[in-house]
């Protein structure tokens, strides 16, 4: 808390020192200029003519959507079944792959720091790339269909489940692990008795959470030909 003396000899209090104040202004200035610069790039790349009639387009779209045509609904059963399968099987596959990766990535269970960085790379790559992009790639490789969707969902889930699970593993109590190691248990036994029971609740929670996200994600996979709900 800087306290300075005014010309009249009275002590004055300000929240920040003059230097801190100027640095603050400077940071704001830099931030605002960055924002304006970005805005300019976007506005240069935008056809404002199209934006002007946005209201008309929007009302047009909504008026065509309302009322919903319920007669069409019976045709949706199959796509919905496929969507559910993509989400469920994809999640299951993803979890199976994420499980060992998480154990290799957690600081306290990894066999070697090099393996740890490899596992972390897998997790980051999987997290960086949206399932829609995975699906797009897989459709060109496997052809359109449910399988591409399942694998896309699985590949994206590895990173999500893997990250949350390895964080949970790093937060376990070390003493039970130590106690199991002291009985002469092997590495795998230490994992299954000391670590696994402690992370099981977190693991179940993470899996269900990801399954929920995947149901929503798999509805849009149809856009690129993996699954069906949107494209019809």
């Amino acid at each position: 808390m800087p306290v300075s003396t005014s010309p009249q000899g009275q002590p004055q209090w300000r929240l920040r020192t003059t230097k801190a104040q100027w640095l603050g202004y400077l940071a704001w200035l830099a931030g605002i200029s960055l924002f304006l610069l970005c805005w300019k790039v976007i506005s240069d790349n935008t056809m404002w003519v199209f934006v002007e009639d946005a209201g008309r387009q929007g009302t047009d779209l909504i008026s065509r959507m309302l009322p919903p045509e319920w007669t069409y609904a019976h045709q949706l059963w199959l796509p919905m079944w496929d969507t559910l399968n993509i989400a469920t099987l994809g999640t299951a596959l993803g979890i199976m792959m994420a499980f060992p990766v998480a154990f290799l990535a957690a600081r306290n269970t990894t066999p070697h720091p090099l393996i740890r960085s490899l596992a972390l790379t897998i997790i980051v790559s999987s997290r960086s790339i949206n399932s829609l992009i995975w699906a797009m790639l897989l459709v060109t490789i496997l052809g359109p269909g449910v399988l591409a969707g399942i694998i896309a969902i699985a590949l994206r889930s590895i990173g999500f489940v893997g990250k949350l699970l390895y964080e949970a593993i790093e937060e376990i109590h070390p003493t039970p692990v130590e106690a199991i190691a002291a009985t002469g248990a092997s590495r795998m036994q230490v994992m299954s008795y000391g670590v696994l029971p402690q992370v099981l609740p977190a693991f179940a929670g993470i899996s269900v959470y990801r399954w929920d996200i995947n149901i929503r994600e798999s509805t849009v996979l149809g856009l690129v030909g993996a699954g069906v709900l949107v494209c019809s």
Binding site: T109, T175, P176, V177, E178, A179, T183, S186, V195, L200
Partner: protein, 279 residues
């Protein structure tokens, strides 16, 4: 039976935990290790079963040099050293029986233990031990449903199921009330007599140590400063171990366990070594 010579430990941070420890423990002897927090008591007993790697010196158990063992051999050596922990170190979400049976892990293969298919003799022995520590009815309870004293009994049963020759006991009573503490110490003492086990008990409570141990070793700043029978522990020697304090007007320094409960050893290296198993 157990012989430590020239044992030393320096943590990667540069802190010296133990210096030149010389100690011989004959069969069947119960030895109490006393000393202030941070004196290296926990590190010493963890160096014996190599949950903490000693940086110099040797540990010999029945003629086998432990410091150079690795993998399978180290696991076999750990089997013959049962360990009992301060905060019981039970796996909370497993049942009492599973916790006791985990003492057999050094003897059975991975899949047998994963599927909980333990040999019949091991199950019988585990149940006998539960009866011996007075908890046969708790068999299917989860470990976190038990009280502190009960959990420590389960921890003792687990250690004994290893059929150890030596017990390493780390602050068995630090989280228990005075009455339960005495019961637990008596139980350990009786079990050692029944099975002719040697034991190193690392304990804060000097009165308990004097009452239940055959021999007392005082540790200060990583060095042994006293070694002798309980009767020779005078207030002068307590001053050497713990520093200046009026020892005679305090009837029994029993409250020590309350304010010195926290373990001074840095947890991270220990945890890493434990999880890494034999490395």
């Amino acid at each position: 039976m157990l012989k430590l010579s020239g044992l030393g430990k320096r943590y990667p941070t540069g802190d010296r935990a133990l210096t030149n420890i010389e100690l011989t423990l004959p069969k069947g002897q119960v030895m109490a290790l006393i000393g202030p927090s941070g004196a290296g008591k926990s590190t010493l007993i963890r160096c014996v079963n190599r949950l903490v790697e000693p940086t110099e010196g040797s540990v010999t158990l029945e003629g086998v040099e432990l410091t150079r063992l690795s993998g399978q051999k180290l696991r076999q050596a750990r089997r013959s050293m049962g360990m009992i922990f301060q905060e019981y170190a039970l796996v909370d979400r497993l049942t009492v029986m599973e916790n006791v049976l985990s003492g057999q892990l050094g003897y059975v293969g991975f899949w047998r233990s994963f599927l909980r298919r333990y040999p019949q003799s091991a199950v019988v022995e585990a149940f006998r031990l539960l009866e011996r520590v007075g908890l046969p009815h708790a068999l299917d309870k989860r470990a976190d449903a038990l009280s502190g004293g009960q959990r420590q009994r389960v921890g003792i049963a687990r250690a004994l199921l290893q059929s150890p020759k030596l017990l390493l006991v780390d602050e068995p009573t630090a989280s228990l009330d005075p009455k339960t503490s005495r019961q637990i110490m008596r139980l350990i003492r009786e079990l050692c007599a029944e099975r002719e086990l040697a034991a190193i008990i690392n304990i804060h409570d000097v009165a308990l140590a004097q009452q239940f141990a055959d021999r007392i070793v005082g540790l200060r700043a990583g060095e042994i400063v006293f070694d002798g029978p309980p009767g020779e522990l005078t207030s002068d020697i307590l001053t050497t171990i713990y520093g200046e304090e009026d020892w005679d007007t305090t009837p029994e320094p029993e409250d020590n366990s309350v304010d010195e409960r926290d373990d001074p050893t840095p947890p991270t290296p220990m945890a890493r070594v434990a999880a890494g198993g034999a490395r």
